[in-house]
């Protein structure tokens, strides 16, 4: 099918974009990589009268790594995140999540902001941001504000973003994740490489001393995709492995916590009970991998 008729706008500045959003509000949709909106418009599930194409907003296409933080603009493509040496060296969870999104054609065009704006609970970046306690930066004609990822995702595809607001980028503090003693892993279970995951786990582990014979987990992060109606941070799983070296027992406790916390919706190929089991298993595997990466040479990550 073809989309319903719409008026096309192509602003070149943030100011122009937010003015258009303010004018057309719920009658407008932002378009960047157009990897999701195009499909639902072609099926006429969405029929916005105004499309605001933000591909010319160069000011929101950046990756800035400083001593204290990593900042990524919302117009950065999955492919750029996947290949970023700076991100691989500092927050490898981002490139790991990016390289597993759909297929190459989607990754070439899809953007960070599009994924966060869509807020599908199975999405990769929403889960990464939740695991890493990231902040979102949004702006409108009324000014800019910062929203913690933990407050941004509210319900299924429902976020704190106002209909007149543009996501300009995200930032993540580097302080909890010193590269020389942190390991991260993004593991997905999916029926086929290019589809959405059944369950994904995003984890990070910081140890006290990677060279110790039994490095202690100082801090752990666990977030799951598609295990609830929003990205699911499992603090009970984090608590069950913190403060001691990783063991089979603590891993099992973390997996059990993930199973308890998961409230998945059954799907055609995976019922809710199976998805809860997967939530536990992928939490276990992902934490194990993160710990291995935290305690071995960092160059392979």
């Amino acid at each position: 099918m073809k989309p319903a008729p719409f008026q096309y706008h192509r602003p070149t500045t943030i100011e122009e974009t937010t003015t258009l959003l303010e004018t057309h509000r719920h009658d407008a949709e932002l378009m960047a990589g157009n990897q999701s909106l195009g499909i639902i418009m072609a099926n006429r599930l969405a029929t916005p009268n105004h499309i605001i194409d933000i591909n010319d907003l160069e000011e929101i296409e950046y990756i800035d790594v400083t001593e204290s933080s990593v900042e990524i603009g919302s117009l950065v493509r999955h492919r750029t995140i996947e290949n970023s040496a700076e991100l691989k060296a500092t927050l490898p969870l981002f490139p790991q999540a990016a390289e597993q999104i759909a297929g190459p054609s989607v990754r070439n065009r899809g953007t960070l902001g599009g994924s966060i704006g869509e807020a599908d609970p199975a999405g990769n970046y929403p889960t990464v941001l939740t695991a890493l306690d990231g902040d979102l930066h949004v702006t409108s004609v009324d000014g800019s504000r910062t929203v913690p990822a933990t407050e941004y995702f509210i319900a299924y595809m429902f976020t704190d973003l106002g209909e007149d607001e543009l996501i300009t980028g995200v930032s993540i503090g580097r302080d909890p994740f010193p590269a020389d003693r942190t390991g991260m892993a993004f593991l997905e279970q999916k029926a086929a490489a290019q589809t959405w995951p059944t369950i994904s786990a995003a984890t990070a582990i910081r140890v006290d001393n990677p060279k110790a014979s039994e490095p202690v987990v100082e801090e752990a992060r666990v977030a799951l995709a598609n295990a609830a109606d929003i990205p699911l941070r499992v603090t009970e799983a984090e608590a069950s492995i913190q403060g001691e070296p990783l063991t089979d027992e603590s891993l099992s406790a973390a997996a059990g916590a993930a199973i308890d916390a998961a409230q998945p919706e059954g799907e055609m190929h995976a019922d809710a009970e199976y998805k809860r089991e997967l939530a536990g298993e992928y939490t276990r595997r992902s934490l194990e991998t993160s710990y291995e990466r935290a305690t071995t040479t960092q160059t392979d990550q």
Partner: protein, 167 residues
């Protein structure tokens, strides 16, 4: 048929809250996605409401009939909405319980039949979003009451009306 329910606790008495829940101007200001509410009679309201999931957000022409208004306890209405390729019918009820300490708990429930494209989102997605939207509505209404915005009860039950929904 889909069923939704929830509750909300307010720091205001139910007598006070009743005025807010039955003032169309307050409802217009607090209802999610609501552009306008026209009061056609003390029992009948017409509204234009744009709500949805993600970028799927049809604009509904909504008709509401108050079928029960037992001040300050029970408000029940029958609601129908039509949008391009989408429609819904619903019966919504709210009960205000006084907690004996000047706080009130509002229990709400709705049974609804949804058809068209939005029905394909499924109960999980619609339930997740509806519950959140209703909570937003209560929070906004509570904020109005906190600010002391004046509210005047204008709704009453339609005589002989009974809310029902087909299975």
């Amino acid at each position: 048929m889909m069923e939704f329910e929830g509750e909300f606790t307010s720091n205001h008495s139910r007598e006070e809250l009743w005025n807010y829940f039955t003032d169309p101007d307050i409802l217009t200001a607090c209802a999610p996605g609501c552009d306008e509410i026209v009061m056609e009679s003390p029992s009948e309201l017409a509204a234009v409401i744009s709500v949805g999931v993600g970028s799927v957000k049809p604009t509904f022409d909504v008709d509401m009939v108050v079928t029960q208004a037992d001040e300050p306890e029970t408000l029940r209405m029958e609601v129908g909405g039509n949008a391009t390729r989408n429609s819904f019918d619903a019966v919504a009820e709210m009960n205000l319980h006084s907690n004996g300490d000047d706080t009130t708990t509002a229990h709400w429930s709705a049974q609804t039949n949804v058809s068209g494209l939005i029905a394909s989102m499924g109960q999980r997605a619609l339930g997740s979003v509806s519950t959140r939207l209703v909570n937003n509505f209560f929070e906004d209404l509570e904020a109005k009451a906190d600010e002391g915005v004046s509210a005047e009860s204008q709704l009453q039950a339609k005589e002989g009306a009974e809310a029902s929904i087909d299975d």
